[in-house]
Assembly symmetry: C2
Homo-oligomer: 279 residues x 2
């Protein structure tokens, strides 16, 4: 008697075209060519489903998939028409980057927003960055942005790839909750102007303390490169520049941490609205 | 005519005992056996000198040491009796972890504080941690702690090694400014009690908002494991538990980021003293 859902024959070769296609997403050029990215583990698969991400292919190694919740999730995906392929543990590990992918690796469609079509009043604020030192940092940043209810991240250069597997992992699933856009500085400013938004830059040399500014919505926080900060050209685009003070010994913060301190200030001001202080 | 300082003959072999001794510090067991750690680059050598760290051995590859400031620093160290050994670029790279050690790799003595002898009123506060997910995170945390003027980090388990080369690099030199101690929870509490300090724990389930608490000095912030937070036993040690609120989508923050948000709250309250609000 057949099972309820049509499941594929077990794939036993690491060279199976579908396995190679998923594994290849560890490389940035392949991610860019296909518009897909790689996720591993049940938490991420669950996040993709919850946020209605478009799943391309799911590779499942049944002997490694011990969680009943994960098994149910895969059955539901297969039933709803998502390509779910059974593979051997060896084949699954050949496509995974982590030691314990919990029996599942999947390819998912990247979701880039076209900024002009986006309403910037959604969410707490946006975060714009030029460069981020590491993918892990970028993922941590996404995680904080999500935690405070920010709408998304805007990348002003081709450098940072939020769909790098290390960034995806460090985001702890926030990759599905946030919107991502890649635009030029000119496009960012045009979008902000059209919607009457505020672009807030940071610089250790700014006079205004980051706690003394009242952050408006729609707002975009603009973080420069660690230690160097925003360039004079970038600063010229900003409506206001703020400074995160330091006690004086250490001369800079990690970018993800500086952005998080600033995001929490915006969040704290926002959640005080109607409680005690006007924002 | 001899130069002012006695400089060694050029070391051309990667197997020279002094080179092997320095290179071995990439391993934790060797760091623990010798009580030394590894630094690379002029910024770090300069930090070590500035904070009067006890330098053991400096390996210098003159053709790679392009900075006049770095050259002067090494000359001064050699003159003051620090062992400075000239090596070939190949030998230097064999001891370095980074691609560009700027011509210098050195071994430096670790500096662990004996907590009972430490006055906890030094600095803004202390930060106590059980586990930290990665060395990079630990270094970023040290960098923020230094930036707000915290006194140091207290480790309650053998897990985190602040002298791991990745932690040292991510600290951007804060490794020299902070005090480090490794003690049991019982020793921490005894120290805190003797000095009338306050141990502040964090938990997503705590009722008190982290911004509603007035942090006392001497204070110790106690961070638990990401997502799991402090154990019930650890919470029982705390004088007060606070919660960092989140907008609801993401259920946790990266540990270094959560600690930094909390450190900035303590710093912000502290720097407002005498300006507007009593703390």
């Amino acid at each position: 008697m057949p099972t309820l859902e049509a499941r594929s024959q077990l794939i036993t070769s690491r060279n199976h075209p579908m396995v190679r296609r998923v594994r290849a997403l560890q490389s940035r050029s392949e991610r860019e060519r296909t518009g897909l990215f790689l996720i591993e583990g049940i938490r991420f698969l669950s996040g993709a489903v919850q946020h209605r991400a478009k799943i391309d292919t799911v590779l499942v190694a049944p002997p490694l998939m011990k969680s009943p919740y994960g098994q149910k999730l895969v059955r539901q995906l297969a039933r709803s028409g998502v390509r779910c392929l059974d593979v051997t543990p060896d084949v699954l590990h050949s496509a995974a980057q982590t030691d314990d992918p919990q029996g599942v690796v999947a390819s998912v469609h990247q979701d880039w927003a076209a900024l002009p079509d986006v309403d910037p009043t959604e969410g707490l604020c946006w975060l714009a960055v030029s460069t981020v030192q590491s993918s892990g940092n970028l993922g941590s940043l996404a995680r904080t942005a999500d935690a405070v209810g920010a709408a998304g991240l805007i990348f002003l250069t081709d450098g940072p790839d939020p769909y790098d597997p290390a960034a995806v992992r460090a985001s702890m699933g926030s990759v599905f909750a946030l919107r991502y856009a890649r635009v030029s500085a000119g496009e960012l400013v045009a979008w902000k102007r059209r919607h009457g938004g505020e672009l807030v830059g940071t610089s250790p040399a700014a006079e205004l303390d980051y706690q003394e500014h009242r952050y408006r919505q729609p707002g975009i926080l603009f973080m420069g490169w660690e230690r160097r900060g925003l360039s004079p050209d970038e600063q010229a685009l900003c409506d206001v520049m703020v400074r995160i003070p330091m006690a004086g010994r250490c001369d800079s913060l990690n970018l993800a941490i500086a952005a998080s301190v600033l995001l929490y200030e915006v969040f704290n001001q926002h959640r005080r609205v109607g409680v005690s202080e006007p924002v």
